[in-house]
């Protein structure tokens, strides 16, 4: 009855969730208790261990949405559409949290909650695109048509990803430049360990959440289809002579 992919998800998603929980717990432990404070920022540097993984994961989530949308327009697989919708919702959550934690970090370091910095603006645009995507899914009654329109929006919105990534190099910004680049890694090992653990945990968590959300969308569709079929069967048997 269930799609093979959904059965695989049901079988293996627990491994992703468990691995994410272990990585995040170790990351929180090393980030909060074992890593040293920063020379200039002091204890505030610990916000980085949640803010940066959230921001990285939201761009990863949008990449999944972008390529999934191309795949959906090409193959028209409803399961891929479910996966794209799942990625969009979770990406919106990660993006909003990245913006909120960034704002909390900005207040004591930049002395402002918000500034019209290119990185912040391009990241907020990502949240607006995701809001538009999710609204399209809700507002268009025909699910297939809504999926098609939303996929086109997601592909067009993909232009924001390189802008987010390179905004700190293209424009003069308050935001710090890239720490990982072809020039090397500009982070000390004490900070790199919790940051890597938390980033890995956030990616695994995203994978787990996409699996669960895809399951929800698929099962809800399945249930609705069955309800409709049963309803029409019962109605037919009751009304036919």
């Amino acid at each position: 009855m269930l799609n093979r992919f959904i059965r695989y998800i049901q079988r293996y998603k627990g491994w992703f969730g468990g691995a994410a929980a272990i990585c995040i717990f170790l990351g929180l432990f090393t980030g909060l208790l074992a890593s040293p404070p920063d020379y200039y920022q002091g204890e505030l540097v610990r916000i980085m261990y949640v803010h940066v993984p959230l921001a990285h994961t939201s761009t990863l989530a949008y990449s999944v949405l972008f390529f999934g949308s191309i795949w959906y327009l090409w193959k028209r697989d409803p399961l891929v559409d479910n996966m794209c919708q799942a990625s969009a919702g979770i990406c919106a959550l990660f993006t909003a949290l990245a913006l909120i934690t960034g704002s909390i970090w900005a207040k004591p370091t930049w002395n402002t909650w918000w500034t019209w910095d290119p990185r912040l603006v391009s990241f907020s645009v990502l949240l607006l695109i995701l809001g538009g995507y999710l609204m399209l899914r809700k507002l268009v009654d025909d699910q297939e048509r809504g999926g098609r329109y939303a996929a086109i929006l997601a592909i067009v919105g993909g232009i924001d990803l390189p802008i987010i990534k390179f905004s700190v190099e293209w424009w003069r910004t308050l935001h710090q430049p890239m720490s990982f680049s072809t020039r090397g890694v500009a982070i000390s090992d004490d900070i790199l360990v919790p940051l890597t653990l938390m980033s890995l945990g956030a990616w695994l968590l995203f994978a787990y959440m996409v699996m669960v959300r895809t399951q929800i969308l698929y099962l809800a569709d399945l249930l609705q289809a069955k309800k409709g079929r049963l309803l029409s069967q019962t109605h037919f048997s009751q009304t036919s002579p």
């Binding site: 204890e43 916000i47 959300r213 009304t239």
Partner: protein, 170 residues
């Protein structure tokens, strides 16, 4: 169902344990005490952290060489400070700062040997709380929804025929 709630209880327990450990470490190593508490403390040899503002027209000494004397004030309480340690960066009058040292009981002077940044634990705690609570709530709600959907499909309580007014009317 029991396994689901057991897993969540373990995760919540782990987070609470980590929160308690973090709170204790920060209280022990990084929290500052008020100037009044230092002045009234019976054990004065203990190294403590105090926070206050450098009183105007009291700063003197070779600041660049790490030698300075000034008065630190917090509200109406003032403590004379003799600093001897690493060179002081950006020190100026009316600047808030954290000093590490101990109180000399004879002269009631605070002998400081290092400085630290002012703690902003509120910002750190807010960022972590918002992230953990939001993600935790989202994952919990999603996991529960999957369980309910699977249960509905397995039990096949999909449609229960009822006395439909439409059918009766016909």
């Amino acid at each position: 169902m029991t396994g689901f709630y057991t897993r969540w209880a373990i995760m919540v327990g782990g987070i609470i344990l980590l929160t308690i450990m973090t709170y204790h470490q920060y209280q022990r190593d990084l929290s500052t005490i008020s100037l009044a508490t230092v002045l009234n403390s019976p054990t004065t040899s203990e190294t403590v952290r105090i926070q206050g503002m450098v009183k105007s027209e009291t700063l003197s000494g070779a600041v660049e060489q790490g030698q300075a004397t000034f008065e630190l004030m917090d509200g109406s309480t003032t403590v004379p400070v003799e600093y001897a340690g690493p060179p002081l960066e950006n020190i100026r009058e009316l600047k808030r700062m954290v000093l590490i040292g101990h109180l000399d009981p004879a002269t009631k002077t605070f002998k400081a040997n290092d400085t630290a940044l002012i703690n902003n634990f509120g910002f750190v705690a807010a960022a972590y709380l918002i992230t953990v609570l939001s993600l935790g709530w989202a994952i919990f709600a999603m996991s529960q929804r999957v369980m309910v959907l699977f249960k509905e499909i397995k039990e096949e309580k999909l449609y229960e025929p009822e006395n439909e007014p439409l059918a009766n009317n016909e």
